[in-house]
Chain length 257, copies 4
């Protein structure tokens, strides 16, 4: 049987008149989108337009909730309590579900954003708050998280489906974490290299870390491409064609997980 | 058959550490609450706590969406487009529906807040945006609006149920509008007078305007009491007992409309 | 004696990670910049970077305060009181003065933004609130406003210097107001036409309205170019060279008013 | 010579219609106020009203800048960079200086708020960013910080005057830090005990920690009383009279440091 994989991207990251990203160009190249929910980016009108665009391209829609930090784009760690985290997820994913209903689509997944995503990889309390919120809101939602992360384990334990995520355009540390953005070489910009690493991750379940060590990933369900580089549409396009050319079925994760 | 009426109040108007209102005291006296949704007041944790409190007291829950103006508490007119208005309602009511799901309750109604409420009484475009948003989101939701208002007509036309609202503690103009808050005598503070006016509105469908003229209201389904005066709990309590004493059934509007 | 004129542009309109505009390209082409102050756009770090850039290019710096409406970019009319307006100006211009002090420059002017600018053209109360705030904060600040506007009159009456402004890239109505952006033909995109109209405004004090009528402007001190079109740097560059070629001295308004 | 001491309190912590605190009651009991600057609390109108009230009571005014976290009241740690911190201080203190100018008073001091204050007690980078911002903005401003804190050392090193602060109504750990609010016994509520501890801190430079150990404080210049408890006005009043009765001169720190 052929390998199946989803390609996801964070879109809908504009805020009012602050237009950022290349949503129109990237949307046709991916199979799932993570839509900002208004806390770190995304306003109601942007959410509506992004869902309409996703629907047009038959791309599956997920919520991309973050910290309430518009000025910092949700990339700064904030110390919030379990109760705060849980309520922030319910609020943001609930709002997205409202738009999904209006547009006649089904919300497929939740992927926390930025600093919240990073903290939930290792922090039991935050990962549990996120998993509980999703479970109580809608137990059909799939959680996006790296394999072996605390977030993945907590979501699985809560009875939620988890899509294991691979970062196509990011360098890895030997422990499976990403090389921080501010480090040289953290972002992989050559489309060819992005495709090659991704194929290896999907078919062999491994990635080569920055020091040359092989990191065991296990099964990968979804490939993340970033939208905030000028070459993003090119990379997304190259990745999709490269995967298809290699005989891999590219489709929304909700169809095969 | 006895008259039936709902008593509603805006609660959950705190924001983070900014604690305002007397929610715990007022909640047991009302049958429906309008919960702020995070734009003009209310943060996710406050929403969660307010719904939990409502559930405990078996009070029906509605969404109370407003303009995105926390600094002005949603009381300042903002010129927003049809598309913006529609998306703001979907976002805020969607978020509330998320919490309703988590707490195992059903969202009963939507009542726009402050300047948005006031504008929708007369403005066709805004009233239509609100009605369309609610219809597409959840056609079971009841809309709270004064009888004969543009909002009430638009909601009815859209096929939504409308609960006609009477303001128990506010003076009326001869045209059925409220005397603005900044005018002397706009707020009725004596519990006895509040009860008396309310009984007349329910049983006879009329209210006496500030100039002595009689305003025809028609059927009244829900009585609004305000939460932002120190005497609010006392008024709410007096109103509830007064209504019951007069043989009127006081219950959530979703049970009889 | 040669004509003297200032060329101004709204810059520093990014917000955190939401990067918008072409500040680096436009800065060398203008003599004054209006820097967003954090209410409708602009965050503290963006303000700092924009002032540093202006200082490097010896461009005069002004504050560009707006309504507290980040989601609407300050372009939506909000009904605020005299006291609110006055305090919003003091707050925003005060913050800019703080940065001016830190960077060792002098704040030259204040130009209200968007819907606040538009309303102050006609509204006595708002214009007075703005003028009073500026007067009490720093009576050396120059106010940017169109000739004959209520804002210009109020600022003059308060004893403030006013720089009369001409919009180089916008079509005019016969009454001297701008054709709204949403109307076809409201924005003049051909650099040649922009330069020609500007020269006429400076040397003859007139502009041709959309219906062919001649609008008397009087003396013009500063020319506004917009930063939010892709061709903005090209227009700013063409305007500056065109003015210099025509023998007009292009310099910051604070040097000659 | 008699001991001299300042009594400070955080006031102006309302936000728009969200009215919190007992400003009118506490103002007459203190000699310095720390006014919220709009990031964690405080809006422009509240700032104006609070400065007017302080001026009326001849109370010295300081800026109380915090993290950009209105929802969390600036009490949640946020990881911001040196550049961000510096620009946030310039922005907030600059805005306050604008109001000080308008009201004809001199800004006396800066006291960072909440999580920013707590982090700056130990974090060299943040303390340096705060000290540099204040130094470049206005080197006459006094910095409020606990004796021996990193913040105090950095400010002194930068050439700024530092007022050493004692927390009258909070329990101390043996290392001189405060017992966190969520711990039992962290807040001292009996006015008599508050006065007694304060007298000892002023005259002997020591405080007894929760475990009975004596903590050496050194010279104390200013006593902080909190405004967010119902008994705050009573404590502030008791403290002021207790100090005066004991022969201590109570006056704004700018007058004697």
């Amino acid at each position: 049987m052929a390998f199946q994989v989803d390609v996801n991207c964070d879109l809908g990251e504009s805020y009012g008149s602050f237009k950022v990203g290349n949503d129109a160009e990237i949307m046709p190249c991916v199979t799932s989108v993570n839509i900002a929910c208004g806390f770190h980016a995304g306003d109601p009108l942007t959410i509506a337009h992004t869902i309409a665009l996703a629907k047009k391209h038959r791309v599956a829609v997920g919520a991309h909730p973050g910290y309430p930090d518009l000025m910092g784009f949700g990339r700064r760690e904030m110390q919030i309590t379990y109760e705060e985290a849980k309520s922030y997820i319910i609020y943001q994913v609930g709002a997205l579900q409202g738009f999904a209903k209006v547009f006649g689509i089904t919300l497929q997944h939740v992927k926390p954003h930025g600093a919240m995503y990073n903290k939930a990889l290792k922090n039991e309390e935050l990962a549990e708050a996120i998993a509980e919120a999703i479970l109580e809101l809608n137990s059909n939602l799939i959680v996006f998280a790296p394999p072996k992360s605390v977030m993945a384990k907590r979501a699985t334990k809560a009875g939620l489906r988890v899509a294991y995520e691979f970062f196509a355009d990011r360098a890895y540390n030997p422990d499976g974490s990403l090389v921080p953005r501010k480090m040289a070489g953290s972002v992989i910009e050559k489309p060819g290299e992005v495709v090659e690493r991704t194929l290896k991750a999907i078919t062999e379940g491994v990635v080569e870390a920055v020091n040359g060590e092989i990191v065991e990933l296990g099964t990968i369900h979804t490939i993340c491409v970033h939208s905030d580089t000028p070459t993003a549409p090119k990379i997304a396009q190259a990745l999709r064609s490269g995967l298809i050319k290699a005989g891999i079925e590219v489709k929304s994760v909700g169809q095969f997980i």
